[in-house]
Symmetry: C2
Subunit: 116 residues, 2 copies
């Protein structure tokens, strides 16, 4: 588990959009998906996750809709807007460039790495 919460700040937005693009639709499910897909390394706390989803909705990258689950619980389902898809694309490129730069300075092998 990553302890440093500052790391998450820059990456949370693209992560959320990506997970939603991959078909996860509501908060609880999104949180579980992030945990699982990162091998337990990443965790979006509830106090982080829900405000972040609200921000993305307010900025027009997501649209929300309340539905009732088969078990009867209320769920808020998010889906991406066209602007969200464009934004995700830009964020992915930004993250790729950023992580490549940091890896370069830290001397860590990165995407497009050399081969033995």
């Amino acid at each position: 588990m990553i302890a440093n919460s500052d790391l998450l700040r820059g990456a949370l937005e693209p992560i959320l959009l990506e997970v939603i693009a991959a078909g996860k639709t509501y908060g609880y499910e999104i949180a579980k998906a992030i945990q699982e897909q990162s091998g337990g390394e990443l965790l979006a706390q509830e106090g982080t996750l829900y405000p972040a989803l609200h921000r993305l909705e307010k900025r027009g990258y997501l649209r929300a809709e309340w539905k009732r689950s088969p078990e009867g619980r209320q769920r808020k389902h998010y889906r991406m807007t066209a602007a969200g898809a464009r934004h995700l694309k830009a964020l992915r490129a930004e993250w790729a460039a950023f992580s490549r730069s940091v890896n370069q300075i830290l001397g860590i092998a990165h995407a497009g790495c050399a081969v033995a």
Copy 2:
């Protein structure tokens, strides 16, 4: 140039320690080194850089010493402490794990990538 300043938040500390470990000693020189070594992608603003150096010093990872340059200007030279070296090692590992996890979710090739 990376626009999103939130990205820098989690990575600035290891970057600074790394650059200092590589032999850069004072603020202005460190800032230039980060810019150059990242191919111009990364920029630590002065209002970010100097407080960060102060934090690292206060936390015992750096030790500072004022010296006069050959041209006569005052410079504050930093060098790593033993605790700083240990901290850098931990931060490098943390960054590596974090970026690997994010790359995995975003579907970006990462360190240890496959080969053509």
